[in-house]
Each structure stands twice: as structure tokens, then as C-alpha cells.
Symmetry: C2
Subunit: 266 residues, 2 copies
């Protein structure tokens, strides 16, 4: 197994994002007056999802056939060199269908040690692209970004996508604990955009607490958050793995420590 | 009491929105690296809210001193001609603080019969402005928009801002009923942006169900939704009044009828 050039891979991930954006933008914010097959208009998200994923997979097969693919829509492709691309063309399909430009295309690369070594989140409508890579600062449209360093819990925004992702009683308890811990505002919706906002250090310190997640929902966000100075782990405080379902992200180390203490203090 | 010229008032409402945007954009997406008074950075939303509201009130006093003002932040101003401006400079302050450009500045004008005769919703960062006026089609950045006409419940997106707005058991029951009725996707967060998306007819038919609302949260959205072909009422199906707390908006009449039937079918 030969080593890969991370810089080339970042460039290729951006190429994949460009390709996906052409498909997704074709289906985003289609006014109802545009004629489509009767009553299929709200399947736009899944049509766009499948079509964008297929396009990316074709390009990977053509340019880097030795790489595997872990994907949301179709069957996975087994890796020949130990590296895997992880694809989620539309994270936040409800936002997509409602016309909110806060969904994202997620692209990650996982090395043979199962470490995510690069992550791209692309919001093609607003032309915002976050790029994270191992041992490199995170870039938003080419500019270095860093998370909020404040550990003032009363100012911390707690973000989570939907109450339905907290399924077990323990998960519901943890949500309540962290809601009580963060004295600031509580916000819902957002999907991948919450993590990207956290990485960008916009205005407030942030905590994102989610469960019922899949690997393709969070893999790309790991290097994006880490390269900006944030922390992202499972609810036990350990590095996120393929099988993890529970995700905690914080703007900084101090907030992370406080959150983990509260989660485990049952 | 003399009649007012609605066209002039729409122009003035847009002038107010322009003024508010100068203030709000000064405080939106301030990276944490920008030095501000220690630990006040996450008060950005309330600072911007107050400052933008004061600026708008000053302009109203100067240009149209006979009009009253119903406002979120400061004391109301009693109307001398029966007309009232209704101001909410930042609807969606959590979105504002988290860097999501889906908050909005809401400006409405209420006539002496307590009817909302014009409404503006402005998202200054993305430069999206919705303008609704009595007996006129709703405009998004100058273009006429219309809601989705599909009454296919399986494709309907149900939007609501936060579970915390459903306080009483009856409100929680109604939420469950409407969630079951709408077979499509459920989406959280969004505040005023959900209503503006519904008016714009983006991709999917939509229902917005909310409670614990204030007049300045929904007044401007009434003409915006009505002028695009949607329906917005209280949960009993009646026209919204100053004291209403429960709001139902739908993309069209058929969805509205179905929702009202389900709400009242206890």
C-alpha cells in the first residue's frame, strides 16, 4: 500500500464537491410553477441525492479506482488500498426541500487506520465551502477559521437537529442535562450546518449534541472542527468511529470537558 | 383620519428595512477573533435588535409622526391616526447568534380596523426581501411568487421552530396530530424563514404550526403568505389578531382545511 498525497486528495475532494453541486442546484428551490412529473416534486431531495452520489462515484472509479466508497444511497465499494471515500450528497434533506440553504454536501476520506484525514462540507447555493485536513488549519472559502474560545456557559448556543433523534430515555436525559448546562439559547434544525457554524466561530460559543447519526453524517465534520480548534467526539469523549451514533461537538476543550462530565454524571 | 397611500407606505417599509440591515449586518457573523467587550459577544443579537429598532422608530417619528409603533424591545408608541407599525428587527435571534442566515427583520403596517395591510420580511445577509401588501401579489426581490398548490399530504413538510413553543397538553396533542397528518418531512428551526419559504413555493408544499407567538412574530407574514396564495390563521381557522398566540400557515386552501379539521377533531 503506497502513501497518498493529502494535498492532491483535497483537490480531488473539491472536484467531487463541484460535481455534486451541479446536480443539487438543478433541484434546489424549484418553484412549484415549474412543471415536473405530477406529484414527484417533493422527491427532489432524494432524486438529487442519488444522482449526485452516482456522479461522484463514477469520478472516483475513473480517477482513483483503488479507493473504496462508503455511501448513503447505494451499496458500498470495497477499498483496494485501505482508503475510503465517505459521501453524503445532501445532508439536511428537509432543509433542501424547504428551500433553506443550510444543507450540505459532505465528503470525507478515511485512511487504513480508520482515521478521517480530510473533510469537505459544501453549501453550493450560498457558495460556502469548509475544508479540513489532518494537521492543517480549517479553511472556509480559502480563509483560515477558528472556533470561539469562550467557555462562558451562559453564552453557549446548544444546537441539535430534531427532538426525534433522542430516542432512548438515557439520550433524552443527556439532552436535558446539556440543555440545563448551556444557559444560552437553544436551537433546532441545522444538520451539518450547525457543525460548520461551530467551526467558523460565528458570534457565540456552541455545543452540538446529537444522536441517531450515521458515519456519513459526521465523518467529514471531524477534521473541519478539529482544524479550527473545536472538539468532536462520541458521548463518552472518545474519537468517533464508524459505528458511533452519538456525537458531541464543542467550540473548545473547556466546554467539551464540562459537557462530558455532565453526560457521565448519572 | 385621512387615507394613506399604500404604495408610499411599502416604499417607506423598505426604507426601514434598509436602515435595520445596516445595524444588524454590523453584528452578524462577527468572528470570535474580533475583540469586543469581554464576554458580551453573544449578546450581539439583543444589542443589534435594540439598536436597529431604535433607528427605525426614530425614522418613523421623523417622517410619519402620526403613526403608532408596536415593538418587540421598547415601549409602544400610541398612534394618532389609527395606523400602527409593527417592528421585530431580528426574528430568530438563535439563528443570528449561530451564524445561520435564516433570521429576518419583520415590518408590518396595521390599519385602524386592525388589519395588517403590508408586511416586509428582510434577510439582509442573503439579500432576500419578501414584500406583501393588501390586494397585491407577494414579491421576493421584486419577482412575484406563489405557493405550492399540491395538496398531497405525503409530500408536505411540517415546519416549527422549537418543541418548547408547544406548552400545554392540548398544544402538544395538536402538534402530534398534524405531524401524523403530514406524512412528509418534519423540520425544526426557521422562525420567520419557514413562513417566507412557504410563500415562495420552494420545492415542497408546507405547513407551519406554531404557538407561544407574539403579534410582531407573525403580523408581517400575513400579507406575505396571503398575497402568494397561502393561508395563515389561528388554530381555530380565524384571522389572526393582536392577542393570538397559535399560528397555522399552509401552502394552500386544501391543506388548510385538512389541518383545521384535524386540530378541531378532539
Amino acid at each position: 500500500m503506497k502513501n497518498i498525497d493529502l494535498e492532491i486528495m483535497v483537490g480531488f475532494a473539491e472536484e467531487l464537491a463541484n460535481l455534486a453541486s451541479k446536480v443539487t442546484l438543478k433541484y434546489f428551490r424549484i418553484p412549484q410553477s415549474v412543471e415536473t412529473k405530477s406529484n414527484t416534486i417533493s422527491n427532489m431531495a432524494s432524486i438529487a441525492d442519488t444522482e449526485a452520489e452516482d456522479a461522484m462515484v463514477e469520478l472516483i472509479k475513473e480517477k482513483f479506482p483503488e479507493f473504496g466508497v462508503i455511501r448513503e444511497e447505494g451499496d458500498d465499494i470495497i477499498s483496494k488500498n485501505g482508503y475510503n471515500w465517505v459521501l453524503d450528497p445532501i445532508d439536511g434533506s428537509s432543509s433542501f426541500l424547504a428551500g433553506r440553504a443550510i444543507w450540505g454536501t459532505l465528503i470525507a476520506l478515511v485512511d487504513p487506520n480508520n482515521e478521517v484525514i480530510l473533510g469537505v462540507m459544501d453549501q453550493p447555493y450560498t457558495k460556502e465551502r469548509w475544508v479540513g485536513a489532518k494537521n492543517a488549519p480549517t479553511l472556509l472559502n480559502g480563509q483560515e477559521i477558528s472556533t470561539n474560545k469562550s467557555s462562558d456557559l451562559n453564552q453557549t448556543i446548544l444546537a441539535k437537529t430534531t427532538p426525534h433523534m433522542f430516542i432512548t430515555n438515557k439520550q433524552k436525559d443527556v439532552l436535558k442535562k446539556i440543555e440545563n448546562l448551556c444557559g444560552g439559547k437553544s436551537i433546532w434544525g441545522g444538520d451539518c450546518y450547525s457543525y460548520a457554524s461551530l467551526a467558523s466561530g460565528y458570534s457565540s460559543p456552541m455545543t452540538v449534541l446529537e444522536s441517531d447519526m450515521n458515519f456519513y453524517d459526521f465523518a467529514a465534520l471531524i477534521p473541519i472542527i478539529q482544524g479550527a480548534g473545536g472538539r468532536i467526539t462520541n458521548w463518552q469523549g472518545n474519537s468517533l468511529k464508524l459505528e458511533d451514533k452519538e456525537v458531541l461537538a464543542t467550540s473548545n476543550e473547556v466546554l467539551h470537558k464540562l459537557a462530558i462530565e455532565h453526560i457521565n454524571n448519572h
